[in-house]
Symmetry: C2
Subunit: 492 residues, 2 copies
Amino acid sequence: MLTYSFENIGPEPLYLHLYKCIKNDILDGVLSSGTKLPSKRSFAKNLGISNITVENAYAQLQAEGFIYSIPKKGFYVTVLPDNMPGIKEEYINHETARIAAGSIMEEESQCKIDLVSNMTPPANFPFSIWAKLMREVISEKSSELMKKSPWGGIMELRRAISLHLKQFRNMDVAPEQIITGAGTEYLYTLIIQLLGYDKVYAVENPGYKKVAQIYKSNNVACEYIPVGSSGIVIEELERHNADVAHISPSHHYPTGIITPVSRRYEILAWASKKKGRYIIEDDYDSEFRLEGKPMPALQGIDIMERVIYINTFTKSLAPTIRISYMVLPWKLLHEFYNKLSFYSCTVSNFEQYTLARFINDGYFEKHINRMRNYYRNVRDKFMNEIKRSRLADICEISEEGSGLHFLLKIHTEIPDSEYVEICRQNKINVSCLSQYYIDDKNGTKAGITDSTGRNSYNNREHIIIMNYSGIKMEDIKETVSLLCKSLGLVYM
Amino acid sequence: MLTYSFENIGPEPLYLHLYKCIKNDILDGVLSSGTKLPSKRSFAKNLGISNITVENAYAQLQAEGFIYSIPKKGFYVTVLPDNMPGIKEEYINHETARIAAGSIMEEESQCKIDLVSNMTPPANFPFSIWAKLMREVISEKSSELMKKSPWGGIMELRRAISLHLKQFRNMDVAPEQIITGAGTEYLYTLIIQLLGYDKVYAVENPGYKKVAQIYKSNNVACEYIPVGSSGIVIEELERHNADVAHISPSHHYPTGIITPVSRRYEILAWASKKKGRYIIEDDYDSEFRLEGKPMPALQGIDIMERVIYINTFTKSLAPTIRISYMVLPWKLLHEFYNKLSFYSCTVSNFEQYTLARFINDGYFEKHINRMRNYYRNVRDKFMNEIKRSRLADICEISEEGSGLHFLLKIHTEIPDSEYVEICRQNKINVSCLSQYYIDDKNGTKAGITDSTGRNSYNNREHIIIMNYSGIKMEDIKETVSLLCKSLGLVYM
């Protein structure tokens, strides 16, 4: 009969120890497929442990498929395939994976202050209105709620978005052209399937790293195109043989650059020069222009049907709401219908109907106005606190007019990576402009190309991206104080 | 000055006619870039129409970017890129696209009775409980709701799913292994990104056409593997050099075949024979086994970490709820974390928290039990109505024990495609088993391979898939009557 030692097993439960011993013997081939295991009672007696311990160990082994039971006969080692490459190894990896997965979950927001993530302070979301609208939807739409949404989203929401785009962005878009999806990231993957895997997708450098990650993860060619002081550089689009340019002309992240009209026409001209060229216009935060009027969207001046417009409610409303949309030119819409309308809409009906009401009843506009006021106050308080602090002497603020971030250039010798790390130790999560650049393969550092065509990478260093979307009013003072502390400065 | 004729323009508004005339002249190059248009007043006078008509036409042209205005100077034709391949053509296509898109929206559910789509009768969804839980979530979780969900979904829901899988499917799954997403279709695309674009993905033939469509649309190799009377045929997996087998062993759609244990071990053996082989176990309707206990999941006996388990709440709860999940083996989870955790979770926090409560408070179990009873009654009533009808003499019923469909074999000479069309004319939407088969490239018809290895395609004809998930009790009689009518039979 099998014998295992129970000495020096530490605090581990007996049954777990027994389970592991048997499992290892199965994996090592000591206990071969089909071997009958000792009966619980005799095994327990033999090992000098209780019946229940053996029972628990067997139950665990059975649950994991290592053994099986035949009623009234007993337990047998599962018939495993002959060829088991590296199974032992994989099992050892379990532990690491488990720990990794566990700690990933816990890891989040160790930092008290977060100047990186996009968030909305809870107090700003109109919960009671949202709840009221949800109740209305439940009582009035119960049968619609049980029907599958059309592939592009429910028409009620698409009509609401169409009107909103007209009022807010002066865009003439038919509801049919609007396709909703659970997040812009998902929409990008649909666009790849629509435009093709053989295309070269161009992303902005610097820019959101995620956009490039998504293209690469979807197995398409992705090129980094420098962003100059007037937006993406056309010659570089040509040089990289780009087919599809993924850009944010209204407000570039993180530099804050707004692409001027002349460059906009140049971009449209670039797209129109060759069949199959397209522009993905990511208009992610046009709602949050704090000063002046937003520049019209590229989509509105595109008569060649080359612009796919994308926007999201996740950013303007709340991370809770996972609804984004794209506007397709008619020709692409036709193609989408033929190729991709088999996909189910990824947004729940429920939230689609609720959001449609939220827009139609004017709450969305009110919300945006309130948020704009709120964020204007946050920004102003930040400016004041910075001016009052020791930072004032060694920093310059720029791009404070739009979006929910501004740039803070600091005159310091501390390298960006080091500063970010010191901040983290001080429980403040920050990112620097330089982190958004992808450098050339041959080591040439990317930077902002100025109007003379000179690339100066110096102007990308020591610039903190002050994303204040999730910072509460009462935390601003502390935020500035922690930024000072991380630079070795006393706050005041 | 420009002159257009307004004669014989039919019921079209004047401004729309004028708009089209000018647009065509711009597209044809008659009006070249930069040309100044006549002032509204003189143009109106010249054409003998009102100022407001010209104004409306100009506004439309401006909205679409064909012309632009310079304050106090007038309207000018937009500077278009020199090279405009096929712009006219694209514009003509507009109309078709517009009509197509419009009619797609309207087209749905022309049929009174739908035996194809998956639906839930509205009365069966516990709206009041769902609404109550939503209110609780709003009042108790407001700050969590404003935070971004972790990439795999919120832990509360994943813990609830883990417990549910233990109780319901006796699966031992850690919450960390569960990754939620907005629909199984989305999860498939994540799996492709995880396992690789160089892999050969195998799908069942017959089977859900959508699954193959998704693989093809994601630009990976997809092979059709025959399903025999005991599930997918292993030799064919080998013959097609499959790396990843996408199967539904618990309940195959549409044949209803349940893969027996021996074949299950063979499938696991196939997977373990080569590195990089995986099984995607689609357990989409295991909750709705109407008779007996469901067979344990493949996932539960997979000790080689080769099974990715997938299930959805969209089917078991309501199309309203767009939440699906997959269970990754630890090793893959590790890879997922490294490669794909940059993706945001596609399900809204709000619905995640609500569903977590719905499961934890026992409502989900109650709902499933109630639905099972309800559907058992629907099925029984269907059986009775069929027995009482003229269909009884010429049909056989099979696979009525599980899922929300059964098969109705009809002895008739009418080809399947014709029968489906006649049904549609009678306002009843049906599908036949033969429609779920993909035939060989060389024209050999696929069929069910029996235990002797013989492929008999005869057994795939004249079998209606009676998907009764969306049929109301009170419509069953009429459904049977319409099926009779479509066969040229009198109901009773």
